[in-house]
């Protein structure tokens, strides 16, 4: 590291990455490498196999330090070049410091690790970005990002499209200024990927979802912190996701499981959300209108929207002021529905062993006001003082309804068990006179589903 720093200082504007030697043969083309120069760092790279921070790796370790050029493009040049030149197995090690970028970066080589020296120490700043809808775009398999921060991207933070075996570990994505609707939509953003692990990461300030897993298969999001986003964590049109051990606070909505229409991956299911701490998600909704999350009322803990096969357990919901938990159909959104193949109803959900504290006391947003009004209008003096902990729109898939009871057939029911003293409301929002049958009786939902199996990732150890 010292050599690398000395190098960038000695070259002022000129930034040369160090490439540490490692296993493999040595017959690379030296014709363009002048190793007879008098640069002090010149002969360092190949004596010791690189910094300890490179770890025990099979490929090369490309070490970079921030360019000492006042933001004149040295970091851009160095990291983008490293991405273009990368070979499978490479680790690109970003030593501590702040790197400045004005253009989006992209990586298209499989099996590359981008590693910093800690989310507080290695910062990739995109303040002043003039090009690129995200900070870094990855279109490769077996990508690992760890121990760095990506800040103030013009659009999304780190997007991975169509990759397999994708790991984010100890990554922070953050918009450091005010919460604003021109912040990027997503911080950590894998889409149409398989086998995703996101852990010990932090996202703040996203104008849509901090951590967003979309149209993917097999994902684990764990032990991460999401705050001051519109949505903390969103799992969308994804099969087999485990979301656990996370802290979601000060978002508009803490954790969302959505299925949306008109997408290539048409649905999703088998999502477990457990052992999360979901508190005081009372942030203003600063998502631009038109985005689905712009409908989320401030003060939302968890929402299942058109979700299927979701198990929510062991979580603590505290002081989410509108809806600690909401279960809704796409029909509760203001959007038209043209997709004939889409199932807009939520079904087969299982909430058990959760703890509810406070919440529902200051219902906000359109939905908050509507539900508060519906409770008061229809229940009068029996209306609860706060919005019940679990609110279900009770818009049911007609194909799943038991004609005798008018409720979902057991296989598809919304099941609630052992949630302490949590209260409940069935809104009857789909009735001809909406909310006419609103009631607080949770008895029809006293049932259980088989537990979902833990998600195993193919090719990513957990």
């Amino acid at each position: 590291m010292r050599s690398s720093l000395a190098l960038s200082l000695s070259f002022a504007l000129v930034l040369s990455p160090l490439v540490s030697a490692c296993g493999g043969d040595d017959d690379d083309d030296d014709s363009t490498v002048d190793d007879t120069g008098d640069d002090p760092g010149d002969d360092v790279a190949d004596d010791d196999g690189g910094s300890d921070a490179c770890g025990d790796i099979e490929g090369r370790c490309i070490e970079l330090s921030p360019a000492d050029d006042g933001g004149a493009g040295g970091d851009q040049e160095a990291l983008q070049t490293a991405f273009i030149d990368a070979l499978p197995g490479d680790v690109i090690l970003l030593h501590a410091g702040t790197y400045e970028f004005t253009l989006g970066l992209s990586l298209d080589v499989d099996q590359v690790t981008l590693r910093g020296e800690g989310e507080a120490e290695t910062v990739l700043s995109f303040l002043g970005q003039i090009e690129g809808a995200q900070g870094i775009l990855i279109t490769a398999d077996d990508f690992t990002a760890e121990d760095f921060a990506i800040e103030d991207t013009a659009g999304d933070g780190l997007k991975v499209e169509g990759g397999a075996r994708i790991v984010f570990r100890g990554v922070r994505a953050e918009w450091t200024g005010e919460q604003a609707e021109d912040n990027g939509a997503y911080g950590i953003y894998p889409v149409q990927c398989t086998d995703i692990l996101i852990e010990e990461s932090i996202v703040r300030g996203a104008s849509d979802a901090g951590i967003y897993v979309g149209q993917s298969e097999r994902a684990v999001v764990r032990n991460s912190t999401v705050e001051n986003n519109v949505a903390g964590i969103e799992i969308e049109n994804t099969y087999d996701a485990d979301v656990y051990g996370n802290t979601a606070t000060a978002n508009t909505g803490g954790i969302l499981v959505f299925n949306l229409p008109d997408l290539q991956v048409e649905s999703g299911g088998r999502t477990r959300v457990y052992d999360n701490d979901i508190f005081e998600n009372n942030g203003e909704n600063f998502a631009p209108a038109g985005n689905t999350v712009a409908q989320v009322p401030p003060g939302t803990g968890f929402v299942a929207l058109s979700a299927h096969q979701v198990e929510v357990f062991g979580n603590t919901f505290t002081d989410n002021m509108s809806f600690q938990v909401g279960i809704i159909s796409y029909y509760l959104t203001p959007f038209p529905l043209e997709d004939d193949t889409y199932d807009p109803y939520s079904d087969t959900l299982y909430f058990h062993d959760n703890v509810f504290v406070g919440g529902g006391d200051m219902p906000s947003g359109t939905l908050g006001a509507v539900v508060r009004g519906a409770l008061d209008t229809n229940l009068g003096v029996d209306a609860p003082e706060t919005i019940p902990d679990i609110s279900f729109d009770h818009i049911l898939n007609p194909e799943q309804v038991d004609e005798k009871t008018g409720e979902l057939l057991p296989d598809f029911n919304i099941c609630l068990q052992d949630n302490g003293d949590a209260d409940f409301v069935s809104l009857d929002a789909g009735a001809e006179v909406p909310f006419a049958g609103i009631n607080l009786d949770a008895t029809p939902f006293d049932c259980a589903h088989d537990p979902l199996p833990a998600v195993e990732l193919d090719g990513v150890p957990l």
Binding site: V14, I84, A154, A185, Q264, A287
Partner: protein, 403 residues
């Protein structure tokens, strides 16, 4: 070697000094490029040259023909390939065929010079609906330049970059050559660049912008389709509908497809180009209805990403000209991952209401997180906006009241 180049060469070697103690790889591993020492993107074009990858292939013996070796690493200088007999004037080698498109991708008012080169004696195969099948070894060549005065095609021209799309055995590879300030040579440039450019616009007003030269990874961000789990690189414009037009060179107008068939570089095309599909010219009402021209413009400008197989397949918006379902091409379609790109509007296209349509908002913006296309557009294409506005205004129907 010109005197300018001779003077440049030692400087390049000095810049190439690096510390690549490479390992485990063959000669092509690019370790020389890792040593790319040039730092300043905008401090001077000459400074941004990648470390020399000098081989004999790139210093060919005197001769006339194109000197392109598919198996060799890219040459540092564009001139090494002899695609041009006069590069600065963009006069192609006689083996290199110029072409034009009916409606091109908008690129910040850059003028484009397009050419293709096929390996000697080989031809490309016609397709009525898809990209022509070009043989391995083919090279597409496109130079981006700025006329000093857009009103005057004869005004001085500032060459900025020449992009090559090379058909390797397993994929199409993008290479970018950046023209130097003296306009004598273009140098391989892989990490992208920002080049300030200026011109007199069609309205007589001076314009300037920071032209962005893509990094080579960005080539495949557009030139790729995703089919059955595989990313397949591909040209975009080499399709009958785009190419079915008169050539822009020569004295007599002659249809490009017919000319190429006659030259033997295109096989399987209809003898009469009238039997081939033809995309409209977006700003020529004689070539199509408003709907046809608008859909055609969206196709060439957007559908390389916004299709069922392109990089924007995740958005659910398909702007290919063949997409017949209005909700698939944006009518009353809510955005998926637009973020700030929604502009507070509810649907991609609201019939009759361009100012409530996200599509217009994104075409009218130059902010990186909002604008479409996402990359390589720093300014607004006013001429096409008029067409888009006219098209959306005339679309029938509505999206219904909010529930």
């Amino acid at each position: 070697m010109s005197p300018a180049r001779a003077a440049l060469r030692p400087a390049l070697l000095l810049l190439g000094v690096g510390l690549a103690a490479g390992c485990g790889g063959d000669d092509d591993d690019g370790s020389g490029d890792v040593a790319d020492a040039a730092a300043s993107i905008d401090a001077g074009i000459d400074a941004g040259v990648d470390a020399a990858v000098v081989t004999d292939v790139c210093d060919p013996a005197p001769g006339e023909g194109v000197a392109f070796d598919l198996d060799a690493p890219p040459c540092e200088h564009l001139s090494s390939y002899r695609f041009f007999v006069d590069g600065p004037a963009q006069v192609p080698n006689q083996e290199v065929v110029p072409y034009d498109l009916n409606t091109p991708l908008f690129s910040d008012y850059a003028t484009k010079h397009r050419f293709f080169w096929l390996p000697t004696g080989q031809a490309m195969a016609y397709s009525e609906t898809g990209v022509f099948d070009m043989p391995v070894g083919s090279v597409l060549i496109k130079t981006f330049s700025y006329l000093a005065d857009l009103r005057d095609p004869a005004s001085a021209e500032r060459l900025v970059e020449t992009r090559l799309l090379v058909h390797r055995a397993d994929k199409w590879e993008g290479l970018v050559y950046l023209w130097n300030e003296d306009q004598t040579e273009a140098e391989l440039r892989r990490a992208g660049a920002v080049v300030p450019v200026e011109w007199i616009h069609t309205d007589g007003e001076p314009r300037q912008l920071s032209y962005i030269v893509p990094n080579t990874n960005q080539c495949v961000n557009c030139h790729v389709v995703h089919i059955e789990g595989e990313d397949i690189t591909t040209p975009i414009g080499i399709q009958a509908r785009h190419l079915n037009r008169d050539t822009g060179v020569g004295e007599l107008p002659v249809n490009q497809l017919e000319l190429w068939s006659e030259m033997g570089v295109l096989t399987g095309a209809p003898a009469d180009a009238a039997d081939a599909p033809r995309a409209p010219v977006f700003d020529d009402p004689d070539t199509g209805t408003v709907d046809e021209r608008a859909r055609g413009w969206l196709d060439i400008n957007c559908s390389h990403c916004h299709s069922q197989v392109g990089p924007a397949r995740t958005s659910g918006l398909d702007l290919t000209v063949g997409q017949a379902d209005p909700s698939q091409y944006g009518v009353c379609k809510p955005p998926i991952a637009a973020g700030p790109g929604s502009g507070g509007r509810l649907y991609d296209i609201v019939p009759g209401l361009p100012d409530e349509s996200i599509l217009m908002f994104r075409l009218e913006s130059v902010e990186p997180e909002i604008r479409m296309p996402e990359v390589l557009r720093q300014t607004v294409h006013s001429e096409s906006l008029e067409l888009m506005r006219e098209w959306i205004t005339a679309l029938p129907g509505d999206c219904g009241p909010p529930k």
